[in-house]
Symmetry: T
Subunit: 69 residues, 12 copies
Amino acid sequence: MSDHVYKKIELVGSSKDSIEAAIENAIKSAGSSLRNLDWFEVIDTRGHITDGKVSHYQVELKVGFRLDN
Amino acid sequence: MSDHVYKKIELVGSSKDSIEAAIENAIKSAGSSLRNLDWFEVIDTRGHITDGKVSHYQVELKVGFRLDN
Amino acid sequence: MSDHVYKKIELVGSSKDSIEAAIENAIKSAGSSLRNLDWFEVIDTRGHITDGKVSHYQVELKVGFRLDN
Amino acid sequence: MSDHVYKKIELVGSSKDSIEAAIENAIKSAGSSLRNLDWFEVIDTRGHITDGKVSHYQVELKVGFRLDN
Amino acid sequence: MSDHVYKKIELVGSSKDSIEAAIENAIKSAGSSLRNLDWFEVIDTRGHITDGKVSHYQVELKVGFRLDN
Amino acid sequence: MSDHVYKKIELVGSSKDSIEAAIENAIKSAGSSLRNLDWFEVIDTRGHITDGKVSHYQVELKVGFRLDN
Amino acid sequence: MSDHVYKKIELVGSSKDSIEAAIENAIKSAGSSLRNLDWFEVIDTRGHITDGKVSHYQVELKVGFRLDN
Amino acid sequence: MSDHVYKKIELVGSSKDSIEAAIENAIKSAGSSLRNLDWFEVIDTRGHITDGKVSHYQVELKVGFRLDN
Amino acid sequence: MSDHVYKKIELVGSSKDSIEAAIENAIKSAGSSLRNLDWFEVIDTRGHITDGKVSHYQVELKVGFRLDN
Amino acid sequence: MSDHVYKKIELVGSSKDSIEAAIENAIKSAGSSLRNLDWFEVIDTRGHITDGKVSHYQVELKVGFRLDN
Amino acid sequence: MSDHVYKKIELVGSSKDSIEAAIENAIKSAGSSLRNLDWFEVIDTRGHITDGKVSHYQVELKVGFRLDN
Amino acid sequence: MSDHVYKKIELVGSSKDSIEAAIENAIKSAGSSLRNLDWFEVIDTRGHITDGKVSHYQVELKVGFRLDN
């Protein structure tokens, strides 16, 4: 594992069901174009309200992946 | 949407079941007296422990709503 | 409740299922050696990704407990 | 000025023209229902983009006012 | 205590005597119009200087109270 | 709007005229290669000084855009 | 003093009288089981309110002590 | 540019017109007694309100300048 | 008050008695060489421990003063 | 230098030798695919421990580079 | 690796030679009483000055280790 | 040591060799005009890149020194 370099990108996933589903959606989207996804960090959790209820959870996260050398 | 003004208030919701339920409880409470609730932001997640188990999740959140001009 | 003193320790719990389960795991572990656990505060939420999916949620939390005088 | 108490509320003002105009709009709105507005603090500056241009500046600010004793 | 909702407001109390007196003044003011005050958190401590001496301590605090359901 | 995923990038725009112009320059640059720009957040405002005057405002901002699914 | 190692722990002291007394209580409690206490840092100041008055100050602090080599 | 040392000072400039003018005023004041001003960083933006309008913008900034060796 | 410029310096005052006394000591020291001291902001509160008791409170504060134009 | 736009990306470099080497490794990696690298900022320093010794330093940094107009 | 729980402690290591040596000293000290040390995070870097030179680097770090279940 | 007052100033040191050398350069510069330098705190670590390599480390630090009473 010596001297690997990782890149982190910042994504916002959303889901009308749960915080975990919003995270999973963002990671699935990232995985469609990036290989070697390794970890994520939740930066912010927010959402929209419609008719007095949560209509969407939005989770901002950083996703780290290993760069190919 | 030009030149709307929004106000944000700070609430703490609680639930013995989940983080999402604590958020929903706070928003339902706010909605009983405020119109035009628009979004929320999670500020802090904490809770109480009873007999070595989580007895309540407490989620502190800011709720934004549009002021009537 | 006057003049009690509390100590806070920092734990990282993990779970492949949910953020709440990671919190519960950390608290269960702390409860096996410490009495008087009183509250927790979530400090950080992160996790690992395997094959483009969340393999583990990791929740860093502080746990407060009352010191026996 | 001894022993006055102030309250702070959190507002988001918007304007399509400038950051200053967004601040002024929020304060004008607050002034229509609150007396004794005394100072403001900018908390966050953001905005929306339409067709590759800023369509609105949004400035989140705290506004402090003196409570009548 | 299950599922209570709390609101937090932000106040600035002042006193020429001490930090504690500034806190007490802000809470006394809040208590004249709000029931169920439950806790406070100090956010910022500052003050004014006149003739090279502290003329007033100003303490910014958040005050939490339970909403009646 | 359900389940959209957004990406955020970090840019620094500069202008010798104003903070707003520095923001606009960064967004115009981003718009030349990215579609669906949606919002921006100001992270930092700084600048250079030449001969005792502001020669350039530099505004660091995050720009969010919707990923095509 | 070369190459000493210190450990920091996190305590919450409380007192119905003052912030300083809450700090002193926490340190006295730590001193009953730990030697070589060296310094403290205040992390957070909060408290409970009963009948519209401060019933307890709670001060969260870190306490550093030298480890015996 | 090797091994230069810079000092940073903290100033608050004010202007009744705009944020940029408050920055310029602070830098002009610093330039009257300091040479080699090089850059500034905005730390905080606030202001006073008179009769429901912004009477002054106040911008807190750090100003960096090269020390003569 | 239009267009005044203020400078802020950072001091650490200490006292074996109280937090307020540490603040006063720092301000008294600043006042011996600087005119027009206007306000202070507490940045950090810490202290030393001797024989299991607080031997000194140390308060780090910023002190603002008006520059003569 | 007027009106240039810069982009910042976030990298994690690692090295078993030193913090500086971890920084250099990340920058060398970025330089293989990006032109006009201009500056870096260290965001976080951490590492792994194997057999009670540092096995790798990991330095998270932001790297800024000028966009070609 | 499923459902492991980790604890983090806070240490301050010092060295008259370098930042890396201060880190190594803290970890070596922790390793003498704790098994399963896994990672560290640098929280703060400071030091003492004697006769106008750095006499000691002090690095505050968090050290994480796996709890035995 | 009772009731001493300290002042803190903010410096940026640079070096093409290492983080420690950048710190030492800033302290050496401060020591040429100030007596009683006592401690430093690293605030930020950054640097410039030339031809894909670190050309200079820049370390921002606060330096504390005792004021003569």
